[in-house]
């Protein structure tokens, strides 16, 4: 008898759980957001502050985010890079359906990806606080320090730094798994990621100068401890420790610019962070509501809080264009 009861209970449980899944109606829409770990802290903060929908957020990387969007697993795909033809071909769509600016020109598996810029990520090159010979660097100088193309071993071997001390360069910077790594080398190495790429990273030189780490704390501590070290990190992290290290002004042909919130519009190493959504989705209204919040003044304030840069500080036009598209 007991067993029959148990069986019945089990069936009842099964039924009730499957029914729960079908409720809704007056409930809030549930959205799933996944992707880039760079966008993650922003997404978490927005999901927290937005009351119009229940948004669950996970990481997994930009590729994962785009993949999940195309596969219909997620409503919002976070990406710290642009969508590429590869993302289409990976799920079996035609890779010519993505143009070079990361926008889609045709549907993929019924999904019409739409690109949104939601914040800017700024990268900072950092040195020891006592470093007075490398306060500003050009892309060419960064190239000679950070790539495997005839790299400088000593500071006075860096072109234009002939008066620098004859001391060995040590690099402490993120490892290749991080989005920051990718972005930095995309900036200083031409055709990064293509077959025509002109040089490799200093890590590939195999000379032990590049000490990779996945942890920002490690990089920061190592540079503080080594007078002749150099490295790079997300500005978000550097900003909180700005008294402990030097930030390097970067010159990309238009004069040297220090990384700071004020100068970000002219600073060369700032990249947009994206969220991709599906224009064909049934729940577009809820998704757009969430995006509108992320792009509102309140939503953009979150950027400061988690260490990124508001869109309008870099490109005010872009922000109003996107707001109009959502309105």
């Amino acid at each position: 008898m007991k067993n029959a009861l148990l069986t019945k209970m089990m069936i009842a449980l099964l039924l009730s759980t499957s029914l729960v899944g079908c409720t809704g109606g007056d409930e809030k829409e549930s959205l799933i957001q996944t992707g880039s770990s760079t966008v993650l802290p922003l997404a978490v903060a927005w999901a927290e502050d937005y009351d119009g929908a229940d948004v669950s957020v996970s990481g997994g990387g930009s590729s994962h985010g785009l993949n999940a969007l195309l596969n219909g697993e997620a409503d919002l795909g976070d990406a710290s890079r642009l969508m590429k033809g590869k993302d289409y071909s990976k799920v079996g769509c035609d890779e010519t359906g993505v143009s070079s600016d990361g926008t889609a020109t045709e549907e993929c598996m019924g999904v019409m990806p739409t690109k949104w810029v939601v914040a800017f990520d700024v990268l900072a090159v950092i040195t020891h606080p006592s470093n007075d010979f490398a306060t500003s660097l050009t892309y060419d100088q960064l190239y000679s320090i950070f790539t495997d193309d005839d790299p400088a071993d000593y500071w006075d071997e860096v072109p234009g730094l002939e008066n620098a001390p004859h001391e060995k360069i040590d690099i402490y910077a993120p490892d290749e798994a991080s989005g920051t790594f990718d972005y930095f080398f995309e900036e200083i190495i031409e055709d990064w990621g293509d077959d025509t790429q002109v040089a490799g990273t200093r890590m590939e030189a195999g000379d032990g100068v590049y000490h990779p780490s996945a942890d920002d704390n490690v990089i920061m501590t190592a540079i503080q401890a080594n007078e002749f070290a150099i490295g790079f990190l997300g500005f978000a992290y550097v900003r909180e420790n700005v008294d402990k290290i030097n930030t390097v002004a970067i010159d990309h042909g238009n004069g040297a610019v220090e990384p700071s919130l004020e100068t970000v519009a002219d600073y060369p190493m700032a990249r947009p962070l994206h969220i991709y959504t599906d224009a064909n989705a049934d729940n577009s209204e809820a998704v757009n509501g969430y995006l509108a919040f992320a792009l509102s003044d309140e939503g953009q304030d979150v950027c400061d809080e988690v260490g990124y840069v508001r869109i309008d500080l870099v490109d005010a036009n872009l922000l109003s264009l996107q707001r109009m598209a959502l309105a």
């Binding site: 999901a47 927290e48 930009s62 996945a214």
Partner: protein
């Protein structure tokens, strides 16, 4: 015993209830389907990886550079293998001596009372989820290593220590079983010949328990190789070919976890995760087969007859004791043969000293456990209040809580059990009670055994690829719970089988004797009596599912304001929250992680108490 009862039970009657048989047989076949899904996931992913043409099989297997990104990506697996080997060998180097010594102490020297105290320590140690070990390694052991041996922030040494603690229980309990299985008469024979207890233990007991201990070590090795979370959190993510424990290394499992959590561009680097998974699968599978072989050998010897083996061992014992005794001549010089010689005194002292040393081995484990619990209590207890238990995991640490996370975990284990329990119990009933003894039965059992040995991160790959992508369940509770159900299925089958086999054969005979069909006998007489045992096993499986991180690493969410309301919703889970917060750059999140660990450990403790309660109550009420 297993084969006996099933065999006896099989009398060739035509089953009356074909539907029941069909359902039970399907349940038993689920392990085959699960294994097929694993192999399909790994094989197809590996094929996709090689299709990119970035590496061929030879380059993959022999290359010494693992640089999955960059201009000239290179996919030589040796840096990952060396990282895995460093951690596995390092942790075995710690846990073999400690574990065997502890087992020897428990089996040969500990009084029954101290055994009752010491054994649970081992069980508690084995119940700590690996993400908790990871937290401990990253935030307690690693800073210590940085100060003392100049290790990096991420270093192999701290991972080695916690992995050693994780595999210690495996070595202790399986070696203990092997040591206790050594026949009493050969031990008595050794003592009778004048060996001290220590000489008896090391020269007679250990050699005869050898194959069991080897099996224990191999199983521990498989676990160490397959361990994901602690290694990912503490050892880092730089694949480098070196054997310096102070530096960062990446293991096979950690690379797969990195694919799950990091920003890795599409293409070969992500698909490489499947090829690495396939390598890991083959490795652990081989080690496991070797372990099963070692166990077989032990049983094989037994079958030859205790007498023959005992005489052999006695001969060996005499030989070894002769070896340690002084020359005959000096023995004869002894004036009074009843006075202990100096050599005898030496032997007694040696015994005392050695006993002291091995009894202290368990205290190393105890000390580890105490420091771990103390650290977590110290950092986590203050943060636990009503708000913490009900608020959502805010990005602002002062507001953060784990309300939806607790609900997510509860949903997850409930669904997991809904899937795994009927399937597991059905499979066990079919395999032990109804299935004809034969090749098919053997095959199903073997499949289950192998499934039990699959590293948990591989289930994560299957969950992502099969449930989320192929079946289109997405990043949902359904995907997460199906994945976990696959993982706990073998555990439920094994514990249910044990519970069924504990019901005396005479119950079945009596039922059949009065004309019941086999199914009726099982249904009305075996199952009801096995329920406490099944329930205990089920609860322990719940505990396992609750603490597992790696299988749901790909599918769980990191943030949600509300608890899930349906099976297709995204979900948060306690171990994932611990993982996320432990790695957060802000230190206040580490305290939150500790508080979350405390909540998780409390839940596990409650589950274990329920299991013990059911077991004790059933034992005291049992009339047979």
């Amino acid at each position: 015993m297993m084969e006996d009862s099933a065999h006896h039970f099989l009398d060739g009657r035509v089953p009356r209830n074909r539907f029941t048989y069909g359902a039970l047989f399907s349940a038993a076949s689920l392990s085959v389907i699960a294994s097929a899904l694993i192999i399909y996931t790994l094989a197809s992913g590996t094929v996709r990886f090689f299709d990119y043409g970035e590496a061929n099989l030879a380059e993959f297997l022999t290359g010494t550079n693992w640089l999955p990104n960059g201009r000239n990506p290179s996919f030589g697996i040796w840096p990952l293998l060396s990282g895995t080997a460093l951690i596995a060998v390092g942790s075995l180097a710690i846990s073999i001596p400690l574990g065997v010594a502890a087992a020897l102490h428990l089996g040969e020297f500990a009084s029954p009372r101290s055994r009752r105290v010491l054994k649970p320590i081992v069980e508690v140690l084995s119940g700590i989820p690996s993400v908790v070990h990871g937290f401990f390694a990253l935030l307690v052991i690693s800073p210590f290593m940085q100060r003392t041996i100049g290790a990096d922030y991420f270093n192999a040494a701290s991972a080695i220590i916690v992995v050693a603690a994780m595999i210690l229980p495996i070595i202790v309990s399986i070696s203990d079983d092997a040591i206790r299985a050594v026949p009493r008469e050969i031990k008595e024979a050794a003592l009778g010949l004048g060996a001290t207890r220590w000489e008896m233990a090391t020269r007679v007991v250990l050699p005869s328990a050898r194959s069991g201990i080897v099996a224990a070590i191999l199983l521990a090795l498989a676990r160490a190789v397959g361990e994901t979370m602690a290694v990912t959190m503490a050892a880092g993510s730089v694949a480098a070919l070196h054997f310096d424990p102070r530096l960062e290394v990446q293991t096979l499992t950690a690379y797969i976890a990195q694919v799950a959590t990091g920003d890795i561009p599409p293409g070969p680097a992500t698909e490489a995760g499947f090829a690495v998974g396939a390598t890991l699968f083959v490795l652990t599978y081989t080690v496991n087969i070797l372990a099963v072989g070692a166990t077989r050998r032990r049983l094989g010897v037994k079958r030859k007859g205790v007498a023959g083996r005992a005489s052999n061992l006695i001969k060996r014992g005499i030989a070894s004791i002769n070896g340690i005794w002084p020359t005959q001549g000096r023995l004869n010089v002894q004036a009074d043969p009843f006075l202990p010689s100096r050599y005898d005194i030496y032997r007694r002292r040696k015994e005392k000293f050695s006993k002291l040393v091995i009894s202290s081995s368990l205290f190393v484990g105890l000390a580890f456990l105490l420091i771990l619990l103390q650290t977590i209590l110290e950092t986590g207890l203050a943060g636990i209040d009503f708000d913490f238990l009900t608020d959502f995991p805010s990005a602002r640490p002062e507001n953060a809580g784990i309300g939806p996370t607790i609900w997510g975990s509860l949903w997850l284990i409930t669904l997991t059990m809904l899937f795994a329990l009927p399937a597991g119990i059905g499979a066990a009933v079919y395999l032990t009670e109804l299935a004809p003894v034969g090749l098919l039965n053997q095959f199903l059992r073997r499949t289950l055994q192998n499934l039990a040995a699959v590293p948990s991160i591989i289930f994560g790959l299957v969950g992502l690829y099969v449930f989320s992508r192929m079946f289109g369940f997405g990043l949902s509770l359904l995907t997460g719970s199906l994945t976990l159900a696959m993982m706990v299925l073998p555990m439920i089958v094994v514990t249910t089988e044990e519970a069924l086999l504990a019901v005396p054969k005479s119950f079945r005979d009596a039922a059949l004797g009065v004309g019941a069909t086999r199914w009726q006998a099982v249904r009305h007489h075996v199952l009801p009596n096995a329920i406490p045992g099944i329930a205990t096993g089920a609860i322990l499986s719940v505990a396992r599912a609750l603490g597992e991180t790696a299988p749901i690493l790909f599918v769980a969410s990191l943030f949600s304001k509300t608890a899930p309301t349906g099976v297709m919703d995204g979900f948060l889970a306690l171990p994932i929250q611990i993982f996320f917060w432990s790695r957060h750059p802000k230190e206040s999140f580490h305290d939150l992680a500790a508080s979350t660990i405390l909540v998780l450990l409390m839940l596990l403790l409650i589950l274990n108490f329920i299991a013990i309660f059911i077991r004790n109550r059933a034992e005291s009420r049992r009339t047979w």
